[in-house]
């Protein structure tokens, strides 16, 4: 009997030991990685005097990693900041691969008020940060720093201004989005970029007759290319439609512009696109266009580098691509939500450092790097594009030129609506394409989804 008692004791002991050991092991490993990190730092350059005082750590979360088009630019800017402020500030990056993973995790952090100091506040994260009290009104800082303000610009600031005049985010890019077309196919079918939506539909018919698939649509993921066309159809439908596509978070989608647009899209989905469009991913649509199978795709200028990339496009494809405004001279022109500053309640040093990082991230330097390396349009014209850059990026230059003659400008659905609306369009397009629901019912579902979003 005694024996069993001893064994019992031993067992209990090993159990607790193993738990403790686990923790210890981890702690030692943590220090292990720390030393590795510090070795990395010393590798970069000068060592001794910086170590006397620990640099203030600024937390930053990003989805611009891995295969993301801006990953290289992002890394360069962060490294430049860490170098410039070596010994004073250090940005600690949480990498969140893929946009969905980023948004989901940030929502969890928002719900327990632990958002990092700086992050992109897209897809409703900014609103959550304002509600949970972490977000800082950046307006006073903008006003106090004219050099920074010069490169942020009035337009970008006003775009992010709340009703009460406060500004909670600094945009990270200006977007102008038209559509790209295949010049070869257009000339073979004898059409030019449509000036009206009637002409657009008759162009589609002509293209189809000439043996080409007119549109690269996709309704999987966030139905991106399809929703761009929808935004264009609504946003160019007179003053009412245009006003609707410039309204943030509309509550009611049941209006004639939306229904007219959906009616037209229904025809496009059934007649004028690839067999795999319904349910396709962005990659499918892009690939269909870049492999020369489809005549048109709606998308922004960040797609341009792909046209000359032979792992993505057929050889010589870059010369075949033209860019155009939407019919009725429509153009999606908007700013991204951009970076928010979540330092309310944090230490003064951290607040100062985070602000410094935000300024750096939206500075002339950072905007130039993102333009050069990722084709991201700067916020103002104060950042000039060199003649070389323009020559190297003819399609982008053409689009910027065209943007001057746009009659209607408006935003896209991802920017104006709750993410639940975008999600709803993705699951309703198949029903629309298969005649399960009418455009009116589609609009009703969107209205309902808007109600459901909190």
């Amino acid at each position: 009997m005694k024996k069993t008692k001893v064994i019992a004791l031993l067992l209990a002991l090993t159990m607790t030991m193993s738990l403790v050991a686990c923790k210890n092991k981890d702690a030692s490993k943590e220090t292990g990685t720390n030393t590795e990190a510090s070795v990395d730092e010393t590798d970069k350059g000068d060592t001794p005097e910086g170590t006397s005082s620990e640099p203030v750590e600024i937390s930053y979360a990003t989805f611009m990693v891995g295969s993301h088009a801006s990953a290289a630019a992002e890394e360069e800017v962060i490294n430049a900041f860490n170098k410039k402020f070596e010994g004073k500030y250090k940005v600690v990056v949480e990498e969140l691969p893929s946009d969905n993973a980023f948004v989901d995790k940030m929502k969890i952090l928002a719900s327990s008020q632990t958002l990092p100091d700086v992050l992109i506040g897209k897809n409703g994260i900014r609103e959550l940060a304002i509600e949970n009290g972490q977000a800082v009104n950046i307006k006073p800082f903008l006003e106090a720093d004219p050099e920074w303000m010069k490169f942020v610009g009035e337009d970008a600031m006003n775009y992010n201004m709340e009703d009460d005049g406060s500004v909670y985010s600094i945009s990270n890019q200006r977007q102008i989005i038209g559509y790209f077309y295949n010049k070869d196919m257009f000339s073979k079918a004898g059409v030019t970029p449509a000036k009206t939506w009637d002409e657009f539909m008759s162009n589609n018919a002509k293209l189809k007759k000439a043996g080409f698939t007119p549109l690269a649509l996709m309704t999987g993921e966030n139905a991106w290319t399809t929703n761009l066309w929808l935004a264009a159809m609504i946003g160019t439908d007179g003053a009412d439609g245009n006003a609707f596509m410039n309204t943030s978070y509309p509550a009611n989608y049941n209006n004639s512009s939306v229904i007219k647009g959906l009616e037209m899209l229904k025809t496009c989905l059934k007649e004028y696109t690839t067999p795999d469009a319904v349910g396709a991913l962005y990659a499918n649509a892009a690939n269909n266009f870049e492999q020369g199978n489809v005549a048109m795709i709606a998308n922004g200028p960040w797609m341009c580098p792909d046209f000359t990339d032979e792992t993505k496009s057929i050889p010589g494809f870059g010369d075949q691509v033209g860019v155009a405004l939407y019919p009725e001279d429509g153009l999606i022109a908007q700013f991204e939500v951009g970076y928010i500053l979540c330092t309310n309640g944090k230490s003064a040093e951290e607040q100062a450092g985070a602000l410094e990082f935000l300024k750096f991230k939206t500075s002339e330097y950072a905007q130039s790097v993102f333009l050069e390396k990722a084709g991201v349009l700067p916020l103002t014209d104060n950042i000039e594009m060199s003649a070389e850059y323009k020559a190297a990026n003819p399609i982008l230059s053409e689009l910027i030129q065209l943007s001057g003659s746009a009659k209607y400008t408006f935003e896209n659905i991802d920017n104006t609506a709750f993410s639940s609306i975008v999600d709803e369009t993705a699951v309703r397009y198949p029903e629309l394409a298969y005649d399960e629901i009418t455009p009116e019912e589609f609009a009703d579902y969107l209205t309902k989804a808007a109600e459901m979003s909190k």
């Binding site: 019992a8 067992l11 209990a12 159990m15 948004v103 989901d104 929502k107 928002a110 719900s111 409703g124 959550l128 304002i130 509600e131 949970n132 009290g133 309704t219 999987g220 993921e221 690839t274 067999p275 795999d276 319904v278 349910g279 991913l281 499918n284 709750f418 993410s419 639940s420 999600d423 993705a426 699951v427 309703r428 198949p430 029903e431 394409a433 298969y434 399960e436 629901i437 459901m452 979003s453 909190k454």
Partner: protein, 289 residues
């Protein structure tokens, strides 16, 4: 056996501690907040049964997700387990190919869902996909079925991404078959039973426990199934392939509506408890030896 009380406690203790650390908090939050109106950053307010009433009376998507989940549970607990068990019985007869097939059958289970989702999208692509190409080759005619998006085939297409992949059931049953002694087979042989008869009348009944366990695991896996659906149909068209875990996920992350999501969570847990109880009853797994 009462003298073993301290051993019982000691043996259960680690599990119970772990449960309290990991699951207790979330369960309390889940049940507690299901009676509230709660979203990130906003005040919590008690609303009684409002969330539940809403789900059952107004929320058509929820009712669809409930129905789909129920069908999938049923299919998993029956068909899926059946396939796995049959394959296990066949492979238990040692042949040259047994171990190879067992490994091959298990491989789909080790591929992470990020890749699996993409893979099924490609295989079932209406334009280039393997399935449609195969059908065209066989029939010699044009064929273009959008498996995941056609409202008529979406549900079956999603079901096929997991229903036949019963490798897990196979290895579970095979592991338990290893506990059947040679004597049992010998005895059956002496009694003149064919190998088929032995399998059906002698071995299968001995497998009752593990088949019940497989049914529990297969059925409850449908209470967690999410990524594949999200990547292939996103619950659409409409809500034809929406299930409960996915709707819950969307209610949390797309609509930020924690209160309503947790009411769904409570219903999911209740469904799970009913499921566990009934499967254990059907396979009389609680019966004493």
């Amino acid at each position: 056996m009462t003298k073993n009380k301290k051993w019982v406690i000691l043996f259960l203790l680690p599990g119970i501690l772990l449960f309290s650390f990991i699951f207790l908090g979330p369960i309390i939050v889940l049940f507690g907040t299901s009676f509230t109106d709660w979203s990130i950053g906003k005040e919590i307010s008690l609303v009684g049964l409002k969330n539940y009433i809403y789900l059952f009376t107004e929320d058509k998507t929820f009712m669809d997700s409930l129905k789909n989940t129920a069908i999938w549970i049923l299919l998993q607990a029956t068909f899926h387990v059946f396939i796995g068990t049959v394959v296990a019985i066949i492979l238990a007869k040692k042949r040259w190919y047994s171990s190879a097939i067992r490994t091959i059958f298990f491989i789909p289970n080790v591929i992470s869902s990020a890749a699996l989702g993409m893979l099924f999208l490609c295989v079932m692509n209406p334009q280039y996909g393997f399935i449609n190409t195969l059908i065209m080759k066989i029939t010699g005619e044009g064929f273009s079925q959008n498996w995941f998006m056609d409202p008529k085939s979406a549900f079956s297409a999603v079901t096929m991404t997991w229903l036949p992949y019963a490798g897990l059931v196979t290895i579970l049953v095979m592991a338990e078959m290893s506990s059947v002694s040679e004597d049992v087979y010998e005895a059956a042989k002496i009694d003149g039973a064919s190998s088929f008869q032995t399998d059906i009348y002698v071995v299968l009944p001995l497998m009752k426990n593990i088949i019940g366990t497989s049914a529990v695991l297969a059925a409850t896996s449908m209470l967690q199934k999410l990524d594949i659906i999200m990547m292939t149909t996103n619950g659409g068209p409409g809500s034809r392939t929406m299930n409960m875990p996915m709707y819950l996920y969307k209610t949390v992350f797309t609509n930020n509506n924690y209160g309503l999501a947790n009411a769904q969570g409570v219903l999911l847990v209740l469904l799970g408890v009913i499921l566990l109880k009934s499967i254990r009853k059907i396979f009389s797994m609680d019966a004493k030896e």
